[in-house]
């Protein structure tokens, strides 16, 4: 294969455990070894952070070097001969683990990290010997409330400084430090300061042990009870890649998933709590005028109301798209309302603008603004115009997708048909409520602010009688004479991709089954 001169990088030949490998020049030796399947344990190294080589766990022998060197702090060089599995290296590895465990409390039964702890794993992989230390372990503070979301256990800390580097390098907020010397070193904040930066929960993710634990997840589930499903954070237009960790149909935490294009290894604290909306305050059952109804009855009533008003005064009927909805829901609503019913008053809304920063958080708090704007042909009117049109009486019937709190008082003579997932003033005022699934319960896609289309996977079942939005809309279309037959979200996506340019290059991908974290790879 001829090397492309634009992307060609100088490669070096390195012998790892007797085998020759080629790596790009200047590559980190630990990364190089891991990339060819050579196992080296480490604590302080993290692919998204700088390497301080403080844990000494990744020591390897290099021919010519007088002492073993930390591989995370060494760049590959030509003709380097590395040994990672000699008896000397294995013994050093074991001894380093013994040092690390010297003052570790080994309170795995009460530690939230147990099951996904690097120290546990490395002990089983590389040590496995009984403790030899006599006398008392150094005691430090437990259950320290260091921040709004985080609890610190200084005894469990193995002083790898990953959390300090996350604060310094990712959050740009140097909140943590190591105080004191030797065995008495402790992780701490400056006196009177707290770990309250907007990226603080990343310290919990990178902590290789259970020193930093999240208050929200504390004692909720053991790691091995959780199933991980890849998804996308719905918190803002950035669209960070995440994993949904759920157990028995309930989401317990969201953690970032590596995505070099968007969020690298991180996500903001705000995004981690977006799952609360999925578990709380849901619309579970369809209703007509506030009374419980069956889904077919609610669909028939919605079709009757829409049909009558479209026959009477079609110019007074509006449709409201949601910047929270998936591309699939948006596409089916487009087909129903614009293609089928020829509704002309088209609005779109979402959550109001919020705070932003230069790291990850976008001011636009909707995950699919780009997708909706590129799906629905202009003019797309705003919620402000919707409010005005409702007040002036220009609009008497609205079909609303999503739960944006529209200013629709129950007294106003407006017919509201809403496909909602969460309860709110709009649902209380609506004539017909059709429950729909949320982002964690459906297969679908979001387009983030850069137009990157990313897949959502269903992690938990829909509550009550809720169905994915596209399915409810397709059934409503059937009642109104707009035939749309889809067997799955992927069929909707395929149709949408053939019509909307921004989806053309997107790939639906395989459906992902939840992966149980039990005995799985540690995220540490």
């Amino acid at each position: 294969m001829a090397a492309d001169p634009r992307t060609a990088v100088e490669t070096v030949t390195v012998i790892v455990d007797g085998k020759e490998h080629k790596f790009p020049k200047g590559m980190n030796l630990l990364e190089a070894c891991l990339s060819v399947g050579v196992k080296i344990p480490f604590f302080c190294y993290h692919p998204g952070l700088s390497s301080p080589a403080v844990c000494r766990q990744c020591l390897v022998e290099i021919k010519g070097a007088p002492k073993p060197v930390p591989s995370c702090y060494t760049a590959v060089a030509d003709k380097m001969e590395v040994t990672t599995n000699s008896p000397r290296v294995l013994e050093i590895r074991r001894q380093m683990l013994e040092f690390t465990l010297l003052n570790h409390p080994i309170d795995c039964p009460v530690c939230d990290k147990a099951g996904e702890c690097s120290l546990q794993r490395h002990y089983f992989d590389w040590d496995g010997k009984l403790a030899r230390n006599e006398g008392d372990k150094v005691r430090k503070a437990k259950v320290v409330d260091v921040g709004k979301h985080i609890v610190l256990d200084q005894e469990r800390c193995i002083l790898c400084t990953r959390c300090i580097r996350v604060c310094n390098e990712v959050a740009k907020s140097p909140d943590l430090t190591i105080a004191n010397r030797g065995s008495h070193s402790v992780l701490t904040t400056a006196p009177g300061q707290r770990l309250d930066n907007p990226y603080s929960l990343n310290t919990v993710d990178v902590c290789p042990v259970g020193a930093l634990t999240a208050k929200d997840f504390r004692f909720a589930r053991r790691a091995w009870e959780l199933c991980a499903t890849p998804s996308v954070c719905p918190g803002c237009a950035t669209g960070c890649s995440i994993e949904i960790h759920a157990s028995r149909g309930k989401i317990h935490r969201l953690v970032p998933r590596e995505n070099p294009l968007v969020n690298k290894f991180w996500m903001c604290d705000e995004g981690r709590f977006t799952y609360k909306a999925v578990t709380e305050n849901r619309v579970r059952l369809p209703s007509i005028d506030g009374k419980r109804a069956t889904l077919p009855a609610a669909l028939a009533e919605a079709a009757r109301l829409l049909g009558e008003d479209l026959a009477g005064a079609p110019q007074r009927v509006g449709v409201v798209f949601s910047f929270q909805a998936t591309n699939e829901d948006t596409h089916v609503l487009l087909r129903l309302a614009l293609d089928g019913l020829k509704i002309e008053r088209v609005y779109a809304g979402g959550r109001a603008l919020g705070g932003s920063d230069t790291i990850l958080v976008s001011a636009d708090k909707n995950p699919n603004t780009t997708g909706v704007v590129r799906t629905v042909p202009p003019p797309l009117r705003t919620l402000k115009e919707l409010t005005r049109d409702l007040a002036t009486g220009a609009l008497t019937t609205v079909l609303v997708l999503g739960n944006e709190a529209l200013p629709v008082a129950a007294a106003t003579p407006v017919t509201v048909i809403v496909l909602a997932s969460n309860k709110g003033p709009l649902v209380a005022a609506a004539n017909v409520v059709l429950p729909i699934a949320m982002w964690a319960e459906v297969d679908g896609s979001f387009a983030n602010k850069d137009g990157l289309v990313q897949r959502l996977h269903a992690a938990v079942p829909c509550p009550g009688e809720a169905l994915p939005g596209w399915e409810v809309l397709a059934r409503l279309g059937g009642k109104l004479g707009v035939e749309m037959a889809y067997a799955s979200a992927s069929e909707v996506f395929a149709e949408a991709a053939g019509r909307h340019g921004f989806l053309k290059d997107a790939v639906w991908g395989d459906s992902s089954r939840p992966v149980q974290l039990r005995f799985g790879e540690s995220r540490g």
Binding site: D107, P109, V110, R139, K142, R222, E225
Partner: protein, 185 residues
């Protein structure tokens, strides 16, 4: 797979046709056992090898020493539950009969404790794996007490109070053997 029928030929001859000899042989076996058990069951001279007829429930079978019985939860020295809600027992339980809901313990040296600890004794298969898995000697199956009959299924679910009623302080040191370093800082 089709059902196959095997036709067994009737034994030949008068002996086979009448079964008289076979009946007599069977009667002899019954009589032999009667004579063997007569001294034990009637005259009270029972040997260990005799076939026993127990006058249950007045008379009860002696269980082997390894019989387990109902669960119990052990206590700390101050009477609190030893369990730290580590979820090892519900994880290992093949019958999914253990339900634990953890909570924060007021004592930082303990940190975690169960708020709810329930065992469904109807589901339990008495395998003892929960006892094997427990790192704290918090759960034991050494009461040798049968799961009592109940009128409602819910009554067979033992809660923490019921499990602690048979509990007592364990002689094992909480947190393992060796110097007891986990004291309050």
């Amino acid at each position: 797979m089709a059902v196959t029928v095997k036709v067994v030929a009737r034994p030949a001859g008068i002996r086979g046709h009448t079964y008289l000899v076979a009946v007599a042989e069977g009667m002899w076996v019954t009589f032999r056992h009667l004579m063997k058990n007569f001294p034990g069951n009637v005259l009270g001279l029972r040997k260990k090898t005799d076939i026993a007829t127990l006058s249950y429930p007045e008379e009860k079978q002696a269980y082997p020493a390894r019989n387990r019985g109902l669960h119990r939860l052990m206590k700390r020295e101050n009477g609190d539950v030893r369990c730290v809600a580590c979820m090892m027992c519900p994880t290992v339980c093949p019958a999914h009969c253990i339900t634990i809901v953890p909570e924060e313990a007021p004592d930082n040296a303990v940190e975690k404790r169960p708020r709810i600890f329930e065992i469904d004794e109807l589901r339990c298969v008495v395998c003892g794996l929960c006892v094997e898995a427990c790192p704290c000697d918090a759960i034991r199956m050494d009461t040798k007490v049968h799961a009592p009959p109940t009128l409602r299924r819910a009554d067979a679910i033992l809660d923490m109070e019921a499990l602690l009623a048979r509990g007592e302080p364990s002689i094992a040191t909480q947190g393992g053997t060796g110097p007891f370093w986990r004291e309050k800082v």
